[in-house]
């Protein structure tokens, strides 16, 4: 038996022994997602236990180095771990913007000391992070940000406001773009700071969205003192880190458009069959049927393109240009999917409250999807990027 096979067997045995039974069934609602953090209320003891056990083993982030709280596994072993988790139906022990967004940037740009301080707590789900990028008024022009951090000798004094801070009211720490040189060209006076959301002068206000949910906050900084040790990378070079991080965000947003493998929710096709009915083996509405087919063609073409881009990257290609295509197409595809769900469901899909409408699940998801082409770089920005960087079209003066 080779080493990998042995690893697989050990992994399976460990998971069977350590993953509580209730953590092996699909989540019913988003409330069962484990986000970790200082004030997180676990939905069950099993949830807490599962995070704790995986965190101790470093398997919340199996590919990270051991000294940063990771599992230190190579790519093949990571794949085996994920396969075995999927086979047993294990839930993800931790969802975390720290893992998803901050850590890749930290691993590349932070000092060894910073990594040792912050990454293990992210890995174990002890500290929950939020992102302080957008500002009221900055919109797509992220680099126009005006939150200031003034050098006060032993600390920075931060003043300003951020918007679209995901779960800002629930996060423990924030990674934040601040302006440290107001006189430099706009991309050159920005720095990347980390600080505790419990610092004096930090306050948050949730933003209610058209879907009715409030996943985002406005976050205000009023003379917040941030130790100088919390600067990541060089002073005034924060834009480089920001760009790196945005590209990660864009790639993960793209996956919205692809077919989610093994998704437990009712698929659009099933929903259409239920709502419209079949006749002679065909959906009993030739127009909707063709719309659905065209959607599936586009969805499948997009999914194949994600795969092709991945395969090309493995073969050494540069992923740069592709991320805008995938972000653009992925968000437009997901919006179209939601529109078709509304069309298939008719007025049933436009109900808002009450059990008969599942509290407006379809309508709210539909409304939520409208943000796909705005957040993480609008569709217009992606098209600009493609025109300029990929097609090399000339730019107006």
């Amino acid at each position: 038996m080779d080493e990998l096979e042995q690893f697989r067997q050990e992994t399976r045995a460990w998971l069977e022994a350590n993953c509580p039974a209730s953590m092996r069934v699909p989540m019913k609602t988003e409330d069962e997602v484990c986000w970790g953090g200082r004030h997180f209320e676990f939905s069950s003891d099993d949830q807490r236990l599962w995070l704790q056990r995986m965190g101790e083993k470093g398997w919340t982030v199996p590919d990270w180095p051991v000294q940063y709280g990771g599992g230190g596994l190579d790519r093949k072993r990571v794949k085996i771990l994920h396969e075995e988790m999927r086979n047993l139906g294990c839930r993800s022990p931790l969802s975390s913007l720290g893992i998803l967004l901050l850590a890749p940037a930290m691993l590349k740009y932070a000092s060894e000391e910073q990594k040792l301080e912050h990454l293990p707590k992210i890995a174990r789900g002890e500290i929950r992070w939020c992102q302080g990028y957008s500002e009221p008024g900055s919109g797509s022009d992220l680099a126009s940000l005006s939150t200031s951090a003034v050098d006060m000798g032993d600390h920075y004094l931060v003043n300003g406001a951020k918007i679209w801070t995901s779960y800002g009211d629930k996060a423990d720490w924030i990674f934040c773009l601040v302006r440290t040189d107001p006189d430099a060209p706009k991309h050159e006076g920005i720095s990347f700071l980390l600080f505790d959301m419990e610092s004096e002068g930090v306050s948050t206000a949730p933003i209610r969205l058209i879907s009715g949910a409030s996943p985002f906050c406005q976050t205000f900084f009023d003379n917040v003192k941030v130790p100088k040790a919390n600067l990541v990378g060089e002073l005034n070079k924060g834009w480089t880190i920001a760009k790196h991080l945005l590209q990660h965000e864009r790639s993960s947003a793209a996956s919205l458009g692809a077919t989610a493998p093994g998704s437990r929710k009712q698929s659009l096709q099933e929903m259409a069959v239920d709502a419209i009915g079949m006749k002679d083996g065909k959906l009993d509405d030739p127009i909707f049927r063709q719309k659905l087919a065209r959607f599936h063609v586009r969805e499948q073409a997009f999914t194949l393109t994600m795969q092709r881009v991945g395969d090309e990257m493995k073969a050494g290609a540069d992923p740069g240009p592709a991320s805008s295509l995938l972000k653009y197409y992925g968000s437009e595809t997901n919006k179209e999917r939601r529109e078709l769900m509304i069309a298939a469901g008719g007025l049933d899909a436009l109900g808002w409250e009450g059990e008969e409408f599942e509290e407006g699940r379809l309508a709210r998801s539909w409304l939520r999807s409208k943000a796909n082409s705005i957040e993480g770089g609008t569709s217009e920005i992606q098209l600009n990027i493609i025109a300029k960087r990929v097609l090399g079209l000339p730019q107006a003066d």
């Binding site: 957008s134 919109g139 797509s140 022009d141 126009s144 918007i163 679209w164 933003i207 209610r208 969205l209 058209i210 009715g212 709502a275 009915g277 006749k279 009993d284 509405d285 030739p286 127009i287 909707f288 509304i342 069309a343 469901g345 008719g346 007025l347 049933d348 899909a349 436009l350 109900g351 808002w352 409250e353 009450g354 008969e356 409408f357 407006g360 309508a363 409304l367 409208k370 943000a371 082409s373 705005i374 957040e375 609008t378 569709s379 217009e380 098209l383």
Partner: protein, 390 residues
């Protein structure tokens, strides 16, 4: 007939726009929503509207109306659409009064219409039995019972059903409303299933009537109406109601299209305003040519929509032979247009458009609900093709 408003209609337009702007701005809908108002519109406002004659635009003067037409009702609804104003105009007037006027006996008309025109009685029509507009798919049955009828079945998405005093119910006195014809895959109005349909007046307080309000994404009023042996009073000829139903739907659709057009205009104007004031990358976003071209395309679609709405209303008032064609034409063009405009309004507003605080989201929600009501664009494309003979 000229495709322009005459002088009186222009005056009506101005006063209706001013009325809704001042008395029922978008904040009024927000207040109804956020307080979970049990009526879903303001009864005081409705009395004022009735006092101005708007509840009786197309009703003859003998029934307390002002003897104008659907064009005038459309003008008022278009103005109401601008502020998303909730009122009984659609359910009570466009649907209910149309049905009574078309099918009612002299006694029924005298009993109901003056009260409607005075803003005292609220009506509605209970048509649908599923989430999609399929007017010929009626399973609700009516059985003759001495002088009256006993109605049983479940009606859904009845506009203003939770407050209507009298509900005009479509029920079947004969014919097949069962699976056989219901799965024929045909759009609205296919002859199969339309024979044997009848209309009944049902009192909301009658025994066997159960009404449950439904909460919709657009915060407007819908209800489920279940009938369990409820007494119904025949409106029109038993078993031969289809032509009336078909005509009521056309008239209500033309009026609904006018409302949708008003909403689109308001959302579009709001968006143009945003393009002229919002800066990004050191420039007003309205200077970006890609947005300019999309804005110009929306403008074109709105202009076309103005023409088809006016045409549909005028065709109804002239009792023109192509009134049905024009109603479907209007619903298709306006639905396509409003889909574009409501989506673009959100996208062009960016993040701010996603917040509940900004109004464009309310326009988007209303857009999709209105589109589905009385048949979406696909339903009416099918009907339009049929009416053109292919």
């Amino acid at each position: 007939m000229a495709l322009v408003l005459n002088e009186e209609q222009h005056l009506l337009k101005s006063s209706a726009e001013a009325f809704f702007r001042e008395r029922a701005p978008v904040t009024a809908l927000r207040a109804l929503r956020d307080t979970a108002d049990p009526t879903g519109f303001s009864r005081d406002l409705w009395r004022e509207m009735a006092a101005m004659g708007w509840a009786g635009t197309f009703l003859p003067e003998e029934y307390g109306g002002i003897g104008c037409g659907y064009t005038e009702l459309g003008v008022v609804m278009q103005a109401a659409g601008r502020t998303l104003a909730a009122s009984p105009l659609f359910a009570t007037v466009a649907l209910g009064a149309s049905a009574v006027l078309l099918a009612g006996s002299a006694e029924q008309k005298e009993r109901l219409l003056p009260a409607v025109a005075a803003g005292e009685t609220l009506l509605t029509v209970a048509l649908q039995e599923g989430p999609h507009h399929r007017p010929e798919r009626v399973a609700t049955s009516a059985v003759a019972n001495g002088e009256g009828y006993m109605l049983s079945g479940a009606k859904t998405y009845v506009p203003d059903g939770h407050v209507a005093d009298v509900i005009v119910v479509v029920a079947r006195t004969a014919g097949a409303g069962d699976e056989e014809s219901a799965t024929s895959g045909e759009g609205a109005g296919d002859s199969a299933g339309t024979a044997g349909l009848s209309l009944f007046l049902v009192d909301r307080e009658a025994a066997g009537v159960m009404i449950e309000r439904r909460s919709m994404a657009d915060s407007r009023n819908m209800a489920e109406v279940r009938l369990d042996g409820a007494t119904g009073e025949l409106l029109g000829t038993a078993g031969e109601a289809w032509p009336v139903i078909d005509t009521v739907i056309d008239r209500a659709n033309a009026v609904l299209a006018a409302e949708m057009l008003g909403s689109a205009q308001a959302a579009f104007e709001r968006t143009m305003e945003y393009l002229k004031t919002r800066e990004q990358f050191g420039a007003l976003i309205g200077t970006f040519q890609a947005l300019q071209h999309r804005a110009a395309q929306m403008f074109c679609e709105i202009e076309l929509s103005k023409s088809v709405v006016l045409k549909a209303l005028e065709a109804i008032d002239a009792d023109a032979p192509d009134a049905a064609l024009c109603a479907s034409l209007a619903k298709v063009q306006v639905s396509d247009m409003l889909r574009l405009v409501s989506d673009e309004a959100i996208q062009m507003h960016g993040g701010i458009g996603m917040t509940d605080e900004e109004d464009v989201g309310l326009y988007l929600k209303r857009a999709r609900v209105a589109q589905q009501m009385l048949g979406d664009e696909n339903c009416h494309l099918d009907r339009y093709a049929r009416l053109r003979g292919y």
